[in-house]
Symmetry: C2
Subunit: 453 residues, 2 copies
């Protein structure tokens, strides 16, 4: 039995029927060439046979004196957590995305461990898919991606079949109760020690907000159609974009991959908002979560954040990219001088008004940011689930009142795999953004030789 940490408690409290607080992943696999007709059926059976459920997959919530604790679920029901679905024929990717949109819009059962896995057969071109759903109180996007990666193998091998919930927990999570108490004490001490530096950072940020033209912070976001109350229904849109094309643009503009990703998002959002005659005069502000995880950090929530000026008010693509780059560079310079604890403390101070607004449900006095754009590092090598090659993986995230769109992406092989999670009601035809993202990349491509890529 362990008390739920404060950040995870916030994710539990923020949850309402119109804003489920789970993240997810959609993975696309190819059936091996010689697979029998009931390949996926057998795979589901085999997955359900993996009964040695490891932390945190074995824990559900129990409340004692109003406080939530994680306790082992002694009525663990594998067939409930691992589900077998199918697409109607012909199993187009749009049918898959429609199904996953539906699944992502429903709440997890709080009486059980807060995760579900759906194995979906009948995707066209002899593929199948796995959609996985974790509550944000259980782990953040980076932890989820780490889990998704660890159960896959770097070579096709039917014998090496593993599932996420049977993995031994990563090192720190495996440590003894005593060690973990010590870890908490040490972490609290580090957070205390961080306070003076944090205070200095806040003073700096306050100064910069008034004097540094590149400063982008949580007081500048305009109202927009992305920032409205949300319905309980979701639309998930996903597509991969060539990393080498993005790299070509980054080199040409002396920018990072991430800068170019932001420029693509900026171009796409500008176009989408123009379509709806709803482009704000002031530029949109993106919030960029920054992982503060160590290498062997286990699962959980450990995240800082930066702000980026998306320059959606600027018509010229090159100028937009330059403005974006300057605004991100400001936060990089700022964070380079700080420890992870200092960053977390600073983030807590900066985002306190937004957090309070979210928790109390009061209308925010000002919009802290317009859209979350989350870039999660992923595997570079081809990975396999048993003997099935993974041909795509796309992250799904949370939308909530005031944040009707989330853009998350993960890298895999030569692809940046974008997942757009949106409120289906407030953002009509949000799938158009997929094409606009591509256009946004294309218009930055250097002319002549690279243009043919």
């Amino acid at each position: 039995m362990a008390i739920v940490d404060p950040l995870s408690q916030i994710f539990l409290r923020l949850e309402r029927r119109n804003q489920p607080m789970h993240v997810g992943g959609l993975q696309l696999f190819e059936r091996p060439a010689d697979a029998p007709a009931d390949y996926v059926h057998r795979l589901v059976e085999r997955a359900r046979d993996q009964c040695g459920v490891q932390p945190p997959f074995d824990k559900h919530l129990k409340y004692h004196f109003g406080q939530p604790f994680w306790v082992v679920d002694h009525d663990f029901d594998m067939a409930y957590h691992v589900r077998h679905l199918a697409l109607p024929k012909p199993g187009r990717i749009r049918d898959l995305l429609a199904l996953v949109s539906m699944l992502h819009g429903t709440l997890l059962d709080r009486a059980r461990p807060l995760w579900e896995v759906y194995i979906i057969e009948g995707v066209s071109e002899d593929r199948f898919a796995v959609y996985t759903k974790f509550h944000h109180s259980m782990m953040d996007g980076v932890s989820a991606m780490r889990v998704m990666r660890r159960f896959l193998s770097i070579e096709a091998n039917a014998e090496s079949f593993r599932v996420p919930w049977q993995l031994p927990p990563a090192r720190s999570a495996r440590s003894s109760q005593l060690a973990s108490t010590w870890h908490t004490v040490r972490a609290s001490y580090r957070q205390l020690a961080a306070l003076p530096a944090t205070a200095r950072s806040l003073v700096d940020a306050w100064h910069d907000a008034r004097h540094d033209p590149d400063f982008t912070g949580p007081t500048q976001a305009p109202a927009s159609m992305l920032n409205v109350p949300v319905s309980g229904s979701r639309r998930f849109a996903a597509q991969g974009y060539s990393k080498s094309r993005i790299h070509t643009v980054a080199s040409a503009f002396d920018a990072t991959i991430n800068d170019v990703v932001l420029a693509m998002c900026s171009a796409a959002l500008r176009r989408y908002l123009l379509d709806h005659d709803a482009l704000p005069q002031a530029p949109l502000i993106a919030m960029l979560p920054v992982s503060l995880h160590d290498e062997d950090d286990g699962t959980g929530n450990k995240v800082g954040l930066m702000y980026a000026n998306l320059a959606t008010d600027v018509a010229d693509p090159g100028d937009r990219l330059a403005t974006i780059k300057r605004s991100v560079d400001y936060w990089k310079r700022h964070y380079k001088r700080m420890t992870p604890e200092q960053i977390m403390a600073l983030v807590a101070s900066l985002s306190a008004p937004a957090g309070l607004n979210l928790l109390t449900g009061l209308a925010p006095r000002h919009q802290s940011f317009n859209v979350i754009i989350s870039n999660i590092p992923g595997p570079e090598d081809t990975l396999y689930f048993g003997d099935a090659e993974m041909v795509g993986m796309y992250p799904l995230s949370v939308v909530m009142d005031g944040q009707a769109l989330n853009i998350s992406l993960v890298s895999y092989r030569d692809s940046l795999e974008f997942g757009l999670t949106a409120c289906r009601r407030s953002l009509p035809s949000v799938q158009n953004l997929l094409k606009y993202l591509d256009d946004g990349l294309e218009e930055l491509m250097p002319a002549a030789p690279a243009a043919s890529q």
Copy 2:
């Protein structure tokens, strides 16, 4: 715009993530012999093309000054309400029930009209299914069944394709705003006029509770494993039972079909509780909703109720049936002297403590009843959806904290189609009840000639 009536408001307020307050129906159809491979796909397309959405299917909730109103949804999204799913191969009925269990456990989106239709292809033996979900605030089980029936035809005809949401509303629902206000005034007057008779009935019931051994009321139900807090996950089990077999038993015991149904439920529950070493000493009490709808009553909620002693403490099947019959006959005699308004007022008084318990979420001081058993009249003729014959229809209902099982049944042709909706976590292997229901019927069958049926 119309204010939501008080009973429907209760259904809205009772709803929580672990107790969705929607009812549903599962219908099973046979594809016509000459159907093309994409028959179901075309059917979905055709259903989505039926855009003239009629009341109450076009209305969603809006709150003004804290009061809920039904208002027309001007962003109606047909593809959201009508969904196309498929079963994994081989599409067994148990796979269908697993899928429907999952769908029935999720909340409707309150930002939209409170209904969803799922058209499910790939059921074995060339069948497909339609699962329909309505919020209880929109209509009760009888209204839902009426809607399900009205869109079907009595002969196979591809041209006569209709869908529930394009039906013109029934007479009273179609009446003008003025007429409907008048209806409300008149109904309130009738309820007021009913008060003296209600008071008399209450006094009678109170007297009977102490003196009439056949009286079964809301103070006698024992604690049981059916009456516990529920999880958010559901198990739906369904099966049809031969009406002529049930009729044979009813004749032999001079009982009604409904008495025999209750005896089957009693036998099944007794056996299930014995399996779990959890049979209470006192008999289980069933609550039986009674429809107070007129013939052309439209949709909505209009329901009275009776109590039945299920005699689960009695080992002999014949004695059990006799006790059940006497307890139901008591309420029939009692109600025969009353108008529908008087019955509704009486029911409100009798169930007030239970209702308060449900609303406040406080632990009940006493259990009002152990299980709801709802017997809904259905069609006797074979019905068709376009040119597809309906081969089965099963009702789904609500479970809630303290009521982990709901038994609903509807008649169709020579079958009584049972639908058991249960909390999947508190009632393990609840599907065993299907077999036990059959055993419960079999043990009442008269010997010799009828035994071979």
